[in-house]
């Protein structure tokens, strides 16, 4: 019961702040709502018993990445979107189109799910370690080794790209 209440509260907050992120005029406020959003996502992880993920979520997203966002936004200081003169309805139409597509997809999945009840999850390989952090580590280095490595390669490429962009004369 308490879990359910907590979940709905957190979920409502996540959605609410997400809406505020896109509707707020002031860019800095928008970024701040994004931080709150991330914090509540972390709370959701805690609710799921994934403390490690929650801490990482706060550390990496709220504490690291969004600080950089804020950095950029503060320096650029956008008060209004740059191409405000363009046909405003074109964007609205596009937005509605996208929203409808997503809604359709979600609906399809829901209908499909109710028609064909999900097959039992393939048994995850027995994890020989206990503890939240250890389990995440075990899975990353066994079942998901290749995605993990690919992700780290991607990050490396991004890092080198950023350095090259910033240091032209290098």
């Amino acid at each position: 019961m308490a879990q359910a209440i907590a979940f709905y509260f957190i979920a409502a907050c996540i959605l609410g702040f997400a809406v505020l992120v896109v509707t707020t005029r002031d860019t800095v406020h928008s970024v701040l709502f994004l931080v709150l959003d991330f914090l509540f996502v972390a709370a959701l992880y805690v609710l799921l018993g994934a403390q490690f993920l929650a801490a990482i979520q706060v550390l990496v997203y709220a504490g690291g990445i969004v600080v950089l966002y804020l950095f950029v936004v503060m320096l650029v200081n956008l008060k209004r979107p740059p191409e405000a003169h363009e046909d405003p309805h074109r964007r609205t139409k596009l937005g509605f189109g996208l929203a409808a597509a997503v809604l359709l997809e979600l609906g399809a999945i829901a209908v499909y799910g109710s028609v064909n009840p999900a097959a039992p999850m393939p048994a995850t390989p027995a994890i020989p370690v206990s503890g939240n952090t250890e389990q995440v580590g075990w899975l990353l280095y066994t079942s998901y080794l290749i995605p993990f490595e690919i992700a780290s390669m991607l990050l490396l490429v991004a890092m080198i790209g950023a350095i090259v962009l910033a240091k032209r004369e290098l």
């Binding site: 002031d26 800095v28 406020h29 701040l32 931080v35 914090l39 403390q51 490690f52 929650a54 801490a55 990482i56 706060v58 550390l59 709220a62 504490g63 690291g64 600080v67 950089l68 804020l70 950095f71 503060m74 320096l75 503890g131 939240n132 952090t133």
Partner: protein, 340 residues
């Protein structure tokens, strides 16, 4: 009921209040120690030897006019001091002041909670604290605070990387992220990690100074350059909150360093039978003594050293501390595997 709700609640109340008192007296301690270093007396008027000075300061700050600049971003301006204060306080939830002891026939642990990702929790909560500084600088709508908050964000992000990377090698040693387990590991391995991980100890100390904006890394509030930095436009209690947060963070850093490297609540040489006498001193006393040593060290450093320049600070962070942290991590890993 008592074990579930009442005792944790009581512990929270005690820790919060003790922290706030400690923080206000930290200010007095700093003023006194620096005064002695500079052949002065420091506060002497309020109470004997100025011991009531923090209370006088608190009253003064509370009744001062709370000014919000006209062109400030009002909501953010109000929120910024709170944002910097809250993370500084909630970190105390996982700091172990002592082991589990029997009190009035009841088993009571001398920490609020022991979560299995304790250290990570501290690091991540601390990383949120930087928002207070950034937003204070931004919302003041003034140039000096803005420059200061740009410095702050860059500084905190860089040093966070260095400190977190260094902490990983301690975690490798302890095999756990839980603060209590890390202390226990030092007991079981018969060594304080300051001897097993001397490099990590120094790196964390330097990084900790930088993360708490203490001298010689106090650039965001460099009075001589940026006229007070990010809190230039603040007054009264809001200004005080920034200060309290800074001192609370100092205490956090010294507590964490104590826990990770100096065996937390353990007495010196915990495994030497001849020194078993030391166990008669309450465990939390050891913790407080060790933390106090670091606080004193921080103040001492402030009284002695000049301030780094922004670019030098970044260079130190990225080109010295981070490579050293990675090296330390690699060596620790190799040694650990070889010993297994």
């Amino acid at each position: 009921m008592i074990d579930q709700v009442l005792i944790p609640l009581l512990k929270i109340v005690i820790v919060l209040n003790a922290t706030l008192v400690a923080v206000t007296y930290m200010v007095l301690l700093e003023r006194k120690v620096i005064a002695w270093a500079q052949s002065r007396l420091g506060p002497m008027r309020v109470g004997p030897y100025g011991v009531l000075q923090p209370i006088a300061d608190a009253i003064k700050l509370m009744i001062k006019e709370d000014i919000t600049p006209v062109r400030a971003d009002k909501w953010v301006f109000t929120a910024a001091p709170i944002i910097s204060m809250v993370p500084a306080l909630i970190v105390y939830a996982v700091i172990p002041f002592g082991p589990t002891v029997s009190l009035f026939g009841r088993k009571v642990s001398l920490y609020i909670t022991d979560i299995n990702v304790g250290l990570l929790y501290i690091v991540s909560v601390a990383s949120v604290g930087v928002y207070g500084i950034i937003l204070a600088g931004y919302s003041s709508n003034s140039k000096y605070p803005l420059l200061a908050s740009l410095r702050a964000s860059a500084q905190l992000i860089s040093y966070e990387v260095a400190v977190t990377l260094t902490l990983v090698s301690v975690i490798l040693m302890a095999g756990s992220l839980s603060m209590v387990e890390i202390v226990n590991a030092q007991y079981n391995q018969h060594v304080w990690f300051v001897f097993a991980q001397p490099f990590a100890f120094v790196l964390v100390l330097i990084g900790g100074l930088a993360e708490t904006n203490r001298a010689p890394f106090d650039l965001p509030e460099a009075e001589q350059e940026l006229t007070g930095g990010f809190h230039t436009e603040y007054s009264g209690m809001r200004f005080a909150l920034f200060f309290l947060a800074e001192y609370a963070n100092m205490i956090v850093v010294s507590s964490v360093v104590t826990t990770l490297f100096l065996g937390g609540w353990l007495p010196p040489f915990p495994n030497v039978g001849a020194l078993h006498l030391l166990y008669y001193v309450p465990s939390w006393t050891w913790f407080l003594i060790k933390s106090f040593l670091f606080l004193y060290l921080f103040i001492w450093i402030r009284a002695t050293l000049p301030r780094y320049r922004y670019d030098q600070l970044m260079r130190l962070g990225w080109k010295v501390l981070i490579p050293l942290a990675i090296l330390n991590l690699v060596v620790t890993g190799i040694v650990k595997v070889m010993l297994m």
